[in-house]
């Protein structure tokens, strides 16, 4: 049974233009923020870009592979802790046998991706033996396992999380300035989007989308779906780990609360909200999600009531996600 509306191939020039427009718009935020004299905008935009990377990663398996994974916050957190532990060792407060003590992003970001990708592969080997509801529940359970492990690891701060003071660098240049760091995150998002777009259009992407639609037919064609799904899951985990590492870098702090199952659910909501059928859909979803969260939480302490209601309304009404609204508007504009 297919769980998510599997995407028909839409690797057209329009999609690439859409991605380019999104990235350019995000890159303009610091300029706008400076013009308005509102530094808070960059903070929100950084959060949006980081969660967009995580949601785009999730959408590789969710939107294109039809796999509803609820463990991506855990993978996100693993990436965050790899960076956090590596950097905190420079402060001399923690020690880890397996991780280098470094704040160099060129080293620690690939490392975070590798560790998260490996964790995803291990979990994928077990979870992908099952399907449908079993898969959802198992990934949910794995997410909580990761969460409780980091709560129990007292040497890395336990439930309170891990704070580090070490200055992060990129190829030796300081990387923690708010604006340069934001540009770096946007560049990472652009790379991820371009890479995903190519991957989805490739033979690998075709097989992955086919496995979401009908595994039996795919097998009958002589293509075993499992290696493709596993590779997609591991890659998705690696990119989620990248997002987590950037998240930890953005606030010099990482805690288990970033990897609770509610966060996993939030990532799924971002994907659905933006549109599962498009590589860039989750970017729009993450933007709408984070912005709405910021606005609602400013209004009332009981903002989660409205937010939960909003999620329910989205599921009931918006089958194609927000990106469909953009598409419909664009088509309508062209017709008139």
């Amino acid at each position: 049974m297919t769980l998510a509306p599997a995407a028909p191939p839409r690797a057209s020039s329009a999609t690439l233009i859409g991605i380019a427009v999104l990235v350019v718009a995000l890159a303009l935020v610091p300029t706008v923020s400076q013009a308005l004299g509102n530094p808070f905008l960059i903070k929100i935009a950084t959060r949006i870009v980081i969660f967009a990377i995580a949601a785009v990663a999730l959408n590789l398996v969710l939107g294109f592979g039809g796999l509803v994974s609820l463990c991506h916050a855990g993978l996100f957190g693993i990436g965050g802790y790899v960076l956090g532990i590596a950097a905190a060792q420079l402060d001399g407060e923690v020690s880890a046998a397996l991780l280098p003590a470094t704040g160099e992003l060129a080293v620690v970001l690939p490392l975070a991706m590798a560790v998260a990708g490996l964790a995803a592969a291990v979990m994928g080997v077990i979870a992908l033996r099952t399907s449908g509801a079993y898969f959802i529940m198992i990934t949910l359970a794995f997410n909580q396992m990761l969460y409780y492990v980091f709560v129990a690891l007292q040497q890395y701060g336990g439930e309170d999380g891990l704070q580090f003071n070490a200055a992060l660098t990129l190829f030796g240049h300081p990387a923690t300035g708010r604006v340069p760091f934001y540009y770096g995150c946007v560049a990472a998002l652009a790379l991820v989007l371009a890479g995903m777009q190519r991957l989805i259009a490739s033979r690998f992407g075709v097989v992955l989308r086919a496995s979401a639609q009908n595994e039996r037919r795919l097998t009958a064609l002589g293509i075993p779906p499992l290696p493709y799904k596993l590779a997609a899951f591991a890659l998705s985990g690696a990119v989620a780990g990248l997002a987590g590492a950037l998240f930890a870098a953005s606030q010099s702090f990482i805690s288990p609360s970033a990897m609770s199952w509610v966060q996993s659910g939030d990532l799924v909501v971002m994907c659905v909200l933006g549109g599962l059928a498009y590589v860039a859909g989750p970017v729009i979803g993450a933007g709408a999600f984070v912005a709405l969260e910021a606005v609602l939480s400013g209004w009332s302490v009981h903002w989660q009531l409205a937010f939960g209601g909003f999620i329910i309304a989205v599921v009931v009404t918006l089958r194609g996600g927000l990106i469909d609204l953009v598409r419909i508007a664009a088509r309508g504009g062209r017709a008139s």
């Binding site: 769980l3 079993y134 909580q144 492990v149 009981h302 329910i312």
Partner: protein, 290 residues
């Protein structure tokens, strides 16, 4: 490990096991019959505990708290099912996860608006506030023993109803093949509403019994929900017998894991057990659907 510790932790494990069974029973049947992932089951656990704490605070009677809160939770479950969840049986699992995820936020926030953010205290009933000696040198709180007894009784009752009565046969038939059961004249819709209400009542009962031990607070249902999901998956979705066996397994493994293993490993043990069991049997210990 001494015999005394072994007995004490064994009882703790069993007690956690029966509580998990009360949660998992509703979850596994709802899932088995309607193919519906219901993440709001943990919210019913919470609602039961809050209702009972309120009745207890006003009347001082634990029995009255039970008598009011259990049917009230069942009613809350029925309303939830009829108002929202019923519309999502035919939808994808993704939609079901999302809508129940949104509902959890709504219910948590409503609970917070009514009862506030501070944990509500729930006193032990007078009769059960002491401890009994169950083995030379081992005293055990009588309330925990009562939980164990009630849990075992309910489990037994449920087992008898599901396995040995006509209604139970409808439930099992619905769980193993809904379309076929419906064709054979079982009113699956009605059976399902009954099952949903009963599952909600059991979740509420589990919440009430957990109340005096852990804090009655917003979000108390979620950790229990996750454990109940693990139980459901290990036992085989739709299987009452599987849920009972898996619940006791998980209860014991979790309790002994926390005592015997280092903390990081102890918190992982049940998930590793789940992984091992699913690697061996991907559809759980007692798969219902062919």
């Amino acid at each position: 490990m001494t015999t005394a510790l072994l007995i004490e932790q064994g009882l703790n494990g069993l007690q956690l096991g029966v509580q998990l069974f009360l949660m998992a029973a509703g979850l596994t049947l709802v899932f088995g019959i309607m193919n519906m992932i219901n993440l709001t089951h943990g919210s019913l656990f919470m609602v039961g505990a809050f209702l009972a704490a309120t009745v207890l605070a006003h009347t001082g009677s634990f029995v009255l708290a039970l008598v009011v809160a259990v049917p009230a939770t069942a009613l809350a479950g029925l309303v939830l099912e009829a108002a929202v969840l019923r519309r999502f049986y035919g939808r994808s699992h993704l939609d079901q996860v999302l809508v129940t995820f949104g509902l959890i936020m709504v219910i948590n926030e409503l609970t917070r608006m009514v009862w506030g953010n501070v944990p509500v205290p729930m006193a032990l009933p007078q009769v059960l506030s002491g401890a009994v000696t169950i083995y030379p040198g081992v005293t055990y709180p009588s309330f925990r023993l009562a939980i164990l007894a009630v849990g075992l009784l309910v489990a037994l009752g449920l087992y008898v109803v599901v396995v040995h009565t006509r209604v139970g046969m409808w439930v099992r038939a619905g769980a193993s093949d809904r379309a076929m059961a419906s064709a054979m004249g079982v009113n699956v819709g009605l059976v399902f509403s009954l099952v949903f209400a009963a599952g909600a009542a059991l979740a509420g009962l589990a919440g009430i019994m957990a109340g005096p031990i852990s804090a009655v607070q917003v979000g108390m249902g979620e950790p229990v929900l996750i454990l109940a999901l693990v139980v459901t998956v290990i036992g085989g979705i739709g299987s009452i017998k599987g849920a009972l066996i898996a619940a006791v397994l998980i209860g014991l493994a979790d309790t002994f894991g926390r005592v015997l293993l280092p903390p990081a490993l102890g918190s992982m043990i049940i998930f590793m057990m789940m992984a091992a069991i699913l690697a061996w049997r991907p559809r759980g210990l007692f798969p219902v659907h062919g």
